[in-house]
Subunit: 177 residues, 4 copies
């Protein structure tokens, strides 16, 4: 399950074979359809929900690590950038890749993606409100922050350097200071 999340994050849904998952995880092939009768789709949903919840916790921790909003956001982007670089620009957003290719095909996967994004948006919005943004503006600004980070992860993966992430970091910190 955890292995599935890692592979999905790097390769996406269609490019990740079930054989690859069982080979990489060491899990028994036959047990898969016992635990996940829904097959590949159900497995992907489970992996996405797990990764989404885990990252939500991480986001909340980082955002509450500093009283200064700009510093908190900066640390958030820095953490993602560090993870991306450490993996050789393989580990971007664990949800976005699958969401983009399977959103039009599978409703359960789309739901899992939406829920993950909503959780992250909620954490960002809460932090923004605690920094003085009022309700509606906090939601819009949180959406901008999340979208900009997601987009910067794509750009950085395509370029294999951290320049886009760094630029977005600067801008976001400047905006929210």
């Amino acid at each position: 399950v955890h292995t599935t999340a890692r592979l999905l994050r790097r390769q996406g849904y269609a490019a990740t074979g079930l054989n690859e998952i069982v080979a990489a995880s060491g899990a028994p092939r036959g047990s898969l359809y016992f635990h996940f009768p829904g097959g590949k789709e159900q497995l992907a949903v489970a992996a996405m929900r797990g990764a989404g919840a885990q990252l939500a916790v991480g986001i909340e921790q980082v955002l509450s690590s500093s009283d200064d909003l700009g510093e908190a956001l900066g640390r958030l982007v820095d953490g993602l950038a560090a993870g991306l670089e450490a993996s050789g620009f393989a580990d971007g957003c664990p949800i976005a890749t699958v969401a983009l290719e399977a959103a039009g095909t599978s409703e359960p996967i789309r739901d899992a993606a939406r829920d993950a994004f909503d959780a992250w948006l909620g954490a960002l919005g809460t932090r923004l409100r605690s920094a003085g943004f009022d309700g509606a503006e906090a939601v819009r600004r949180a959406t901008l922050v999340l979208a900009a980070i997601e987009g910067a992860l794509i750009l950085s993966r395509a370029r294999r350097d951290l320049v886009p992430l760094a630029a977005v970091r600067e801008e976001l910190v400047g905006l929210c200071a």
Copy 2:
């Protein structure tokens, strides 16, 4: 070729079969490897470069359609949002989907994605400079704008509504006014 771009935009690289492409396009099956000896990868690269160049032209046109920067950016997002909604939330960014899943696998595809993003970034940067941003800041702000739009397209596809795009539009317009 054009059909390939449409399918890749919606389904991504691995989920799009060669049979599907030839069936949807009506093109002769055998001549594919005459025109594209590199096979599926080369075909995808061609589709991405075509779509990237086409969208670059579109971006430049919209950005130069108004002297007011905020209005120009607003129109850009509106155009993308209209296309997304018209396609039933199927047609997002024609590059991002493939870039995310194949960036770690195929270098030519990654190059094509980077070139497309660079072209769009260049158009945005030029427009920002003409609106008064100085060199380095223009590049950073252009990166923020592109990243935010890319991210908002992902969020909107996952939610099947235009709320994230609208929020990002408001924020970007406010920022660049």
Copy 3:
């Protein structure tokens, strides 16, 4: 066990999965290999022997229901035809389907099939002798009757109508009057 017989009669041995049996019967999955350590084969043999013995009793009852041999045979065919039609041409001979596909593979299954056929042949032979046929001729005629009925069940299932069974019924009644 009884469920197994029903499924085997309709689908044959290889097409009937163990999962299907436990799902259809509501029996506990784990106790199957307690009662039938031999697995699927032993289960099939038990089902065949049960169905064979049950049908042997039915045949004897029908054959002894009339002093007139022709009338008795006619009732036998009528009963089978009614069962076939009532099941939507799904329930033919409970032995023949499995016998044909597994005869070359599994000796226990072949034995069970042979025993069932022998029991039915014995009942027919006894009735024919009581109607005046002498020993050797009774056996041959019983074989003809059983074979013709088996064959007619196949033809009727393939056609989804009772015409072949009716034709064979007429001929057999005429022959044995």
Copy 4:
């Protein structure tokens, strides 16, 4: 294709794997779905139609090999018995096995079985009419002959001896002399 017919005759539809067919025939695995886009079912139908037509020709030849009806029928049964014994009681009717197990599942297979049986019935009926049977009686008697032969093939395969076939042969010859 021809290999498919042989395997289906011996093992039936569900027990015959596609792997087994391609291994036994030497045909390329990937070409299979080019020639038979319908997959296993279409392949089985083709095999059944081929075997049915071939056997129809054989039946007509044997039936016209003698002016004496009883002798012609005797030769027909003898030929089938010889083939059955020569194959170690593996090659029975090439249609019946598949018909029994797939008749309830696949309409194309049922159609192919019905057509084969009809062709054989037609050949038998024609021969019976030429021997003096009138129309309706010829059809009924032909049905009896075919059904008895089919049934005797089942009984002989289950017993692994030719006794049932020999008995049916005697009876049929006696009946039609």
